[in-house]
Symmetry: C2
Subunit: 422 residues, 2 copies
């Protein structure tokens, strides 16, 4: 068995691209049963290869330790038996999800008798550039396969041994299921140059989804020549209106900030109506015990333990137990502040006043607006999509959590009886 996607000096990234593109043409025309069978066999092969995968993972961990990589990063890299089992389980869970391919999204007949159908079809080749987590290799492959796409994957050099072992096991499964093994193509050249080449393979990549931090995103913006969907930062706000139920507000904010502070849908900024601030701010400060608060002057007059916020704080996604606080005099000021600093991810309002919640929902420009609930719910699983490949913070193609449907496009099929245009 060859190393997944290996290329010799005489082979080019173009060649890998052509191979995965060829595989995508096969995947676009198989049945749901064939995809599901490949997912199950892939899961079995993955779990059966646990010892090889963990051995490869040890090599990655060892390199990282020698390089002095921080423990939090090493933790993201580390696999164990239960993590490999979870990857297999993730593939098996996709079997239960509805196959989006072939669905007639719309159909109508024109006055001249032409029958037009808009049908859901795969994108073709979905490329993912990702950072240290090796489970993305398996998760991304599964979502691509179920949606009829070939997966063209480029992980980080830190996880390369793990990724190769995982991809090898999955490619074995794909082959056993009678599908082309290039349905999962892993780029093993993890150089910067290869990454740039990868994101410019316009003939072979239909959609690129980067999963990583700001430097990866910026590299995509600077260099990509293929269509992409950005899964960006979440500088999420919770606005507490003057008509808020303060118990509810407290529960929701504690959840949004503290339940898992390191993720993109965690809240980063608290915006409070001046009318209720004297009552609410001391209370929420107590409830957010352990969270470092920085705020504007008015908030600090009310709660002296709040440290001064700099201008930069309003635009910062802390991903940590830290939160900015700002007092506003009305909902208009809240919306203006949020739209100025939002990254377009998820924004919440706490209010019992329907006029206020409707205005907020209408005017706030974000993928998701939450009314009286936590920003943490903006997630493919929580939305009921079953799984997600990321959360889009752009407006084109997909906005918000991306499930199987967001990995598809449509095709028009026009049935005629010899009509010509006059």
């Amino acid at each position: 068995m060859t190393v997944p996607g290996e290329r010799s000096n005489t082979e080019s990234m173009q060649y890998l691209g052509a191979r995965v593109k060829a595989a995508s043409a096969v995947l676009a025309n198989i049945t749901t049963a064939e995809k599901d069978e490949a997912l199950k066999i892939g899961a079995d092969c993955l779990v059966a290869a646990t010892s090889e995968i963990l051995e490869a993972n040890c090599a990655d961990i060892e390199r990282a330790q020698i390089a002095g990589t921080p423990d939090t990063v090493i933790d993201r890299l580390r696999l164990d038996t239960s993590r490999v089992d979870a990857m297999g389980e993730g593939l098996r869970q996709l079997v239960a999800l509805t196959d989006p391919i072939g669905k007639i999204v719309e159909q109508w007949t024109r006055p001249n008798g032409l029958e037009i159908q808009k049908v859901r079809v795969p994108l073709g080749v979905v490329a993912i550039i990702y950072e240290n987590r090796p489970n993305v290799t398996s998760d991304a492959f599964g979502l691509c396969l179920k949606s009829g796409n070939a997966a063209f994957l480029r992980g980080s050099s830190a996880a390369i041994d793990s990724n190769i072992a995982i991809a090898r096991a999955l490619r074995e499964g794909i082959t056993k299921a009678g599908l082309p093994e290039d349905a999962l193509m892993l780029v093993t050249d993890t150089s910067y140059e290869a990454a740039i080449e990868f994101m410019q393979l316009r003939d072979h990549i239909d959609c690129l989804i980067p999963r990583g931090g700001p430097s990866l995103i910026n590299s995509i913006l600077d260099n990509a020549k293929v269509p992409y969907v950005i899964d960006g930062d979440g500088n999420c706000h919770v606005y507490v209106d003057e008509a808020a139920d303060l118990d509810l507000a407290t529960n929701v904010i504690v959840n949004a900030k503290m339940q898992r502070p390191s993720v993109c849908n965690a809240a980063e900024s608290l915006v409070v109506h001046s009318q209720i601030a004297p009552n609410f701010l001391p209370r929420i400060t107590n409830a957010l015990e352990g969270v470092e608060l920085v705020g504007d002057e008015r908030s600090r007059d009310l709660v002296p333990s709040i440290q001064p916020a700099t201008e930069e704080d309003w635009s910062t996604e802390y991903l940590d137990l830290k939160m900015s606080v700002r007092i506003v005099d009305n909902i208009d000021e809240a919306i203006t502040h949020i739209n100025k600093h939002s990254t377009g991810h998820s924004e919440a309002i706490i209010s019992s006043n329907q006029t206020a919640t409707k205005e907020f929902a209408r005017r706030v420009d974000a993928a998701a607006v939450l009314v009286n609930t936590s920003t943490r719910f903006v997630d493919g699983e929580e939305f009921g999509f079953g799984a997600e490949i990321g959360i889009s913070t752009q407006k084109l193609h997909a906005r918000g959590p991306m499930g199987l449907e967001q990995l598809t496009t449509t095709k028009y099929i026009v049935n005629g009886q010899g009509q010509t245009r006059g």
Copy 2:
């Protein structure tokens, strides 16, 4: 009244972008009636300014003539009273179209009681880079306005006087209608540097749609840092299957090739099953009188007047009375050939065999597949969209004719009663 979008030496493209972005926030929250009123007043102001517009157009034409511009290009540039009237009529026709904004695309309730709505909202700022036709200034503005978007327009230097006059009239109309005049922002700096700056305004442009030839498209691919939708070439094929009705095939091919050869949905290549080629090829050659045919050896054996095709011909969009011809032995060969050379626009099959037409529709990778009808029908008007901003040949966001709906995105609104994530 100021010149639309004029900037002084101390003002930047960023400043123009910030202005149009601010206008977009207003447009996102107005009623259908307000948009329709602005379209009608805009149309009136445009027609009222006919003499100023034609005077400006004369200046453009004169410059073009001095520069030795070809007549066909000058024709695209030229306006007259009836063309200005048609622009006004185009705006008025948008009034009758359904406003896509505010539509609830989907809604569901989660087991925890969260009510999720997916609502259609404007993109925000839609940017268009276009070539010589000055009517795009008015057409693009109208489609953007009706879909709640601000229009950020950058036409060519050749049409700059006409574009300024048109934009000035429309901005007067917008102001009269009580909307921000920056809802139409025309970039009057037509330098190459300004175009590059324009396509990199990531903070201010939500979607860029280039309307022009390959050099513009390549410039977008090389330089753009904003999300874009490519309206690309149409190397459209018609495949005549062995089970084709040859009368129907002849009519459709003549229509697809000859009715308007200069447009992207005209057919450029004829693919014929070898079984019917001896009968059909002489016949279609006669019917395509005036069309220069180039073909493979087998086609030339059957019809000696067909000239030899080079490898390049298979990938060429002639946009002229010229067509390539190829003989294939079965539908699989036809599909493989088409998928290899297609630009993903529109591909047709002529066949009475439903197994063949279904296989073709499933396997051909294009925005539109036509069965027993002309490729010329792939068009926003012909699809019933009322108007179109272009035809997308990419798979992300929009594929095929782009009407009002393709100028929108969605937003999730999640209504809760205090739910928190466990």
